[in-house]
């Protein structure tokens, strides 16, 4: 039995790293969190609870969900705390209904979220597409388990990466992020809500079962230290307002149901008025912008954490819980004399394409451990474009990698590159 080293206590706080970075994105429309939703203090929470606390701190006040392991603790936390802060939780009849209700809830201006795991995520895809087409800000938490189908309900997986990106039909862009610890589950959930408000997209929050169920210290700052982006409501009059007019901005201005704008919105291809138009031209303007608003702002959205990549022979690309496991593997490889760096993806979609291209041009090899049989590694390979070998370390789920296996692949990669 291998002796596992204690996990390092100096995991960076994404909130600290990124604080201030997004300020000014919308001309300074950043406000402080509502204290009613912020449980300030040091807590001992699992990732699911921390995610729920992050949502409440971000101002989420409507959650519709359907129970599924291993995500259920998020809504259990929320359903206990919502009644004392003016929020509504409803347990819907299924995931299709949950996601539809979240899209409806968000059109009232109320920040809305749903929580699920792989099989439920599949059922939500129809209305995730609707949210993308209607440009509805919302957060979809997916605590991943092993699949396909019912798979491994209580055990870890990271195999919904491609589903998060391409799960619904048609062309659209979403944002997906993946925390590595309960602390990040808290910090990044706030970020997920903020990004969904800025870009008016559903944001996929890809946890995994281990982050969801691991219990660690979580520091929840005072409300005045949490920056929240509120729904930017239009100031136009009813006569001037068109629900999908952009005026050079990445997203249109928002009017919520009940404010007298009497707008129309549809999942059909639509013009600036929100009216269906069945033509190739309208499809081009309508759908192209759904893609452009993300792809034009990749540098603003993408987030990663890098370590010792300057003179690295091998770089390990990780995300979620795999990043924590790979730390041990990297230490093992370093003890064997390999110059190995690390790139941890915090935002998975849009992909950190630029940085990976740069790294591929100067390192000998890239190693991608992930708890699936090869999903994100394809994207890394695409970006590497043959400039360096890309080695997957695949694991079907049910547990995390054995760090020694990752270390072995790193050593092989280094030997081959030398």
């Amino acid at each position: 039995m291998r002796q596992l080293q204690p996990v390092r206590d100096d995991l960076p706080r994404v909130c600290d790293l990124q604080r201030g970075r997004r300020r000014g994105d919308r001309g300074g429309v950043v406000v402080k969190a509502d204290p009613a939703g912020v449980l300030t203090g040091a807590h001992y929470l699992d990732g699911d609870f921390a995610c729920g606390e992050g949502a409440m701190a971000a101002g989420c006040r409507f959650v519709a969900g359907y129970p599924i392991t291993p995500s259920t603790e998020v809504v259990e936390r929320i359903s206990r705390r919502f009644p004392v802060m003016g929020g509504t939780f409803i347990q819907m009849e299924d995931e299709l209904a949950s996601m539809a209700a979240v899209v409806g809830g968000s059109w009232t201006g109320t920040k809305s979220m749903t929580v699920t795991s792989g099989p439920g995520f599949s059922l939500m895809m129809e209305n995730i597409g609707l949210a993308a087409m209607m440009e509805t800000p919302c957060v979809v938490v997916n605590v991943q388990r092993g699949g396909p189908s019912t798979g491994l309900p209580t055990m870890v997986g990271q195999a919904d990466v491609m589903q998060a990106r391409w799960g619904s039909h048609g062309d659209y862009e979403i944002i997906a992020m993946s925390p590595q610890s309960p602390q990040e589950a808290f910090d990044l959930t706030i970020d997920a809500f903020n990004l969904s408000e800025i870009y008016r997209v559903p944001v996929m929050f890809l946890m995994d079962e281990i982050v969801g169920h691991m219990t660690e210290r979580v520091m929840i700052p005072p409300a005045e230290e949490i920056e929240v982006i509120p729904r930017a409501l239009t100031a136009k009059t009813r006569e001037e307002f068109l629900p999908y007019q952009i005026n050079g901005k990445p997203t249109p201005e928002f009017a919520r149901a009940g404010d007298g704008y009497r707008f129309h919105t549809t999942g059909l291809t639509h013009d600036e008025r929100g009216y269906p138009v069945m033509s190739a031209e309208c499809q081009e303007t309508c759908v192209r912008r759904l893609l452009d608003k993300i792809t034009d702002n990749v540098d603003e959205i993408v987030r990663f954490e890098e370590e010792a990549t300057d003179d690295a022979e091998v770089v390990v690309v990780t995300y979620g819980i795999t990043a924590r496991v790979a730390r041990l593997a990297i230490d093992m490889a370093r003890r064997r004399g390999v110059k190995v760096g690390s790139l941890r993806l915090i935002v998975i979609w849009p992909f950190a394409e630029k940085r990976i291209r740069e790294l591929a041009g100067k390192v000998g090899a890239i190693v991608v451990p992930e708890i699936n049989y090869g999903q994100l590694v394809l994207e890394v390979e695409r970006c590497a474009g043959g400039k360096c070998p890309v080695l997957p370390v695949s694991h079907g789920g049910g547990s995390v990698h054995d760090p020694a296996v990752i270390a072995e692949v790193i050593a092989q990669a280094a030997a081959a590159a030398a």
């Binding site: 009232t108 201006g109 707008f263």
Partner: protein, 313 residues
């Protein structure tokens, strides 16, 4: 319980008067429901003889009569012919995914409790793909007005069998006649606890308008089923003639029985259609129950979602 059978008229349709009253002037007066419609979207997609437009007109008239604050009325539709209604009404309108109009509307209602949320969709959308949402919204007594237009068939996709297609009626996927037991929609709603259940045909424009007006004044899950002709598909496949023939059929075969036992409301192929108001009772809605329960259990600590929604800053 009143019983009132519609008499059979032999002079239907009535002979038009010899002189039309100054109808053809250069500036015809605006139709009374024009302010409720997105006139720039007209002409609509519905076929000649279709009943959906009539129901939209009844809905608009009912809104006018009810004096509802139109800024606070949202209309949610699913997919299909009836699903296009949200696109023609000048209200906050949401044209959503197939079968999910009710859960979408649930989100709107819970996100901003002050809204009057109406779901306007078809039988396939609400009772087929959306059947599960329908029964659960009725069970919860979610505060929604649901107008279900039943033309016995999937119209927009080409006349396939619906969960409401009567036995022996033909559809494009039951070319030898339907052998599946159809839904009795009012009974389905009533048995799940809906506090307001009515059925009319789109010939009954005044009664339907009154029913919608009355339902707008109620709370909870209110279901109005409207039987409407689909001349292009249902009538053609079943050799039932034009939209006008459909109206004649309703005229001769609609029987008004208020308070009828919902178990007896099955619709057989080309047999009588029982119309009327079957259930009208007061029951606490989902939000009433939630507020009452949390208020009792949590006391002063309970903070209900503000009526204007949970948008805080």
């Amino acid at each position: 319980m009143s019983e009132n059978k519609v008499g059979t008229r032999t002079d239907f349709p009535p002979t038009p008067p010899e002189f039309l009253p100054d109808a053809v002037s250069e500036h015809p007066p605006e139709h009374p429901v024009t302010p409720y419609l997105r006139m720039e979207r007209i002409p609509h997609v519905w076929c000649p003889g279709c009943g959906i437009g009539t129901v939209v007109k009844c809905f608009a008239s009912a809104l006018e009569r009810s004096g509802a604050d139109l800024d606070k009325v949202s209309v949610v539709s699913g997919i299909g012919c009836s699903g296009r209604a949200a696109g023609y009404l000048k209200l906050d309108g949401f044209h959503t995914t197939h079968g999910r109009a009710i859960p979408f509307a649930t989100g709107l209602k819970l996100g901003r409790p002050e809204l009057e949320v109406a779901v306007f969709s078809g039988d396939g959308d609400l009772s087929g793909i959306g059947g599960n949402h329908f029964i659960h919204a009725a069970r919860r007594n979610m505060d929604l007005l649901v107008i279900l237009i039943n033309n016995f068939i999937y119209g927009m996709t080409g006349g396939q069998n619906a969960p409401t297609t009567p036995l022996t009626a033909k559809s494009s996927t039951m070319p030898f006649g339907n052998f599946e037991e159809p839904f009795n929609i009012p009974h389905l709603a009533a048995s799940c606890g809906a506090p307001y259940v009515a059925r009319w045909t789109c010939l009954h424009i005044r009664r339907l308008t009154w029913a919608i007006e009355e339902a707008l004044d109620r709370k909870g899950f209110r279901l109005i089923e409207v039987i409407a002709p689909c001349p292009t598909l249902y009538s053609r496949l079943n050799k039932l003639g034009t939209g006008l023939n459909g109206m004649r059929f309703y005229h001769d075969n609609a029987e008004i029985r208020h308070g009828a036992d919902t178990r007896e409301l099955d619709i057989d192929f080309q047999k009588s259609i029982t119309c009327g108001k079957f259930v009208d009772e007061q029951k606490p809605t989902f939000l009433d129950r939630m507020d009452e329960h949390y208020g009792r259990v949590l006391g002063d600590k309970y903070v209900p979602m503000p009526v204007e929604g949970g948008w805080l800053q």
